[in-house]
């Protein structure tokens, strides 16, 4: 309970922090005032159409990645699982890359995220076909690895054959992941998918708790593993596909956040779900504030910063676990 309040408060504080940080130097109180009351200046437009959707997307993307990371770790009973594992983020990235390469992304505003989402849906269908309705969790991992490998090979192929160096540069920058210059159109595109994903993943807590004892024991306790797996795959795909479509590839959130929060919820997989959603939102908000405050004129990419912070953090966690194991 205290953890829930603490994490919620952290998200609120960082949300406000995200609203008041940015390129145009406006005093915080004036910026927040302009958000609520149209004062006729460009500040209102900046607040309502640039900073608000950006902060909202940070919350949505962070919560989606944290939640799906916790759910996948719970299902696979492996703390190294992360949302990218089932191959959906790789496929979404491929869709975006194709949209940039073909020039489709210039034809209308949402062409890129729509192409990414379409490819993510395709990847999910492929996973369901490959992993089958009643396979073990290992087949899901293998199917995910295969699809990730295929998507990354095709992405490399597109880059390799790209006749247009600008498109290639665009692709590389897009793949680093960012929340810059997003609008409410992105929010409305991602929200329905993410909401479905959140609802599906919120319903797996009981099954994940039972899986602490292994698949056989969980099944004997009345858990329908097939239904659980379907909800997990579809929920993760909806969350991660939509997140990648609007923000690009942002790693480490889904891996590190459940790791950090697991000891604080007594390692219960169901409690880790909501905690990781809040924690993921806080982490992406904080990172998105950092990219704007650290190098305001250099467009530091969110995904790059996240990996820079996330990898050492992860190393530290492994080091700590190693000491506990010894």
């Amino acid at each position: 309970m205290r953890l829930a309040l603490g994490l919620s408060a952290l998200v609120v504080v960082l949300f406000i922090g995200s609203l008041i940080s940015g390129y145009s130097q406006v005093p915080p109180w004036r910026a927040l005032g302009a958000l609520f009351a149209d004062d006729g200046t460009p500040v209102t437009i900046v607040m309502r159409e640039i900073r608000l959707p950006r902060a909202l997307l940070a919350v949505m993307v962070g919560a989606s990645l944290g939640l799906s990371g916790a759910a996948l770790q719970g299902y696979l009973r492996n703390p190294l699982a992360e949302p990218g594992l089932i191959g959906v983020s790789g496929a979404a990235a491929l869709g975006a890359v194709l949209a940039i390469q073909t020039g489709l992304s210039l034809s209308f505003a949402l062409a890129l995220p729509l192409a990414a989402l379409g490819m993510a849906v395709l990847a999910v269908l492929l996973i369901l076909a490959l992993a089958g309705p009643r396979g073990a969790s290992i087949t899901l991992i293998l199917a995910g690895i295969a699809i990730s490998a295929l998507a990354s090979a095709l992405t490399s192929l597109v880059l390799n054959l790209s006749p247009n160096p600008f498109a290639a540069a665009d692709i590389v920058f897009w793949m680093m992941g960012s929340l810059a210059d997003r609008s409410f159109a992105h929010v409305w595109l991602a929200l329905p998918f993410m909401a479905i994903g959140w609802a599906l993943l919120a319903s797996v807590g009981r099954g994940l708790n039972a899986l602490t004892l292994g698949e056989d024991a969980a099944q004997a306790m009345g858990i329908n593993l097939r239904a659980l797996r379907l909800r997990l795959i579809l929920g993760t795909a909806a969350c991660v596909g939509a997140a990648t479509a609007v923000a690009g590839a942002i790693g480490f959130v889904g891996l590190v956040v459940p790791h950090l929060l697991r000891p604080l919820v007594g390692a219960r997989p169901s409690a880790l779900l909501w905690a990781s959603a809040l924690g993921g939102a806080a982490m992406v908000l904080a990172a998105d504030i950092a990219v704007r405050e650290l190098l305001p004129d250099r467009d530091l990419k969110l995904g790059v910063l996240m990996a820079l912070v996330g990898a050492p953090l992860f190393l530290h966690l492994i080091y700590k676990t190693r000491k506990e194991m010894a």
């Binding site: 004892l213 306790m221 009345g222 858990i223």
Partner: protein
């Protein structure tokens, strides 16, 4: 009255019958020991009976809808998995999942069942310990308590006493015998025929998937059965301290 009835249960793997036309009924108050050499089909029989393994034939448990089955029979698998470093009490509380509607908070009755299971297995001082940091034998006792917390008329456990020290082996078998005395039933697979002879009310002897003998320990553990199925000779006598069974020599 029967708690469960299995008829002609058959499981084939690559065309070979692993469990071969096994039929039996379980009455309340039975502590049933499932014995047989490695690979005789003990685990497969129990999984098939629970509907965890596709099988031909008929099992009254497998026919139940999954949530009802979970309130009729508890299952402790042989692989003792504890995936996350939860506390012992949290782990044992997982046994209440079949009794809790989705999202419901544990009721006093659930806590009572958890406390009873902890008391039965003598785990009171372990309550707040981290389950993954316990020794293998301690983990086994915690997992037995988890199955007990499920509070079902039938408990099925796959080699629950393997790896336990002698005191805990005897105590655990005594827990199963007590459950039977209270009118529940237990099916437990085990390799310690001495403990099976002392604590079980009935033994099932499996031999290459077939039910070779079914009855009270005295008749199932006959010299002829033991020699034919296990390939050992044995010392078996009723003493003032109860039945004593000790395998002696390999005969083949």
């Amino acid at each position: 009255m029967t708690l469960a009835a299995f008829s002609d249960l058959t499981v084939t793997r690559n065309g070979c019958p692993v469990v071969d036309h096994v039929s039996l009924t379980v009455a309340p108050g039975e502590c049933i020991g499932l014995i047989g050499p490695n690979g005789a089909g003990k685990t497969t029989l129990m999984r098939a009976a629970l509907g965890l393994q596709p099988a031909r034939g008929h099992s009254s448990l497998a026919d139940l809808p999954a949530p009802d089955r979970a309130r009729a029979a508890a299952w402790m698998p042989q692989s003792r998995e504890i995936a996350w470093p939860v506390t012992v009490e949290t782990l044992i509380a997982l046994g209440r999942i079949p009794h809790l509607p989705r999202g419901a908070r544990p009721q006093p009755a659930d806590q009572a069942a958890i406390d009873a299971a902890i008391a039965r297995m003598g785990l009171d001082s372990y309550r707040h310990r981290t389950a993954t940091q316990l020794s293998g034998g301690e983990q086994a006792r915690v997992l037995i308590a988890r199955a007990l917390a499920q509070d079902t008329p039938l408990l099925m456990a796959d080699e629950p006493i393997a790896g336990l020290d002698p005191a805990n082996q005897i105590a655990t078998m005594q827990v199963f015998a007590d459950l039977a005395a209270e009118g529940r039933s237990v099916i437990v697979s085990l390799h310690d025929l001495g403990l099976a002879a002392r604590h079980c009310t009935r033994l099932l002897l499996l031999d290459r998937g077939r039910l070779a003998a079914d009855g009270p320990p005295g008749s199932v553990l006959s010299a002829e059965n033991v020699e034919r199925v296990f390939g050992v000779s044995a010392f078996y006598e009723q003493t003032a301290l109860g039945p004593v069974f000790q395998p002696m020599q390999v005969t083949r």
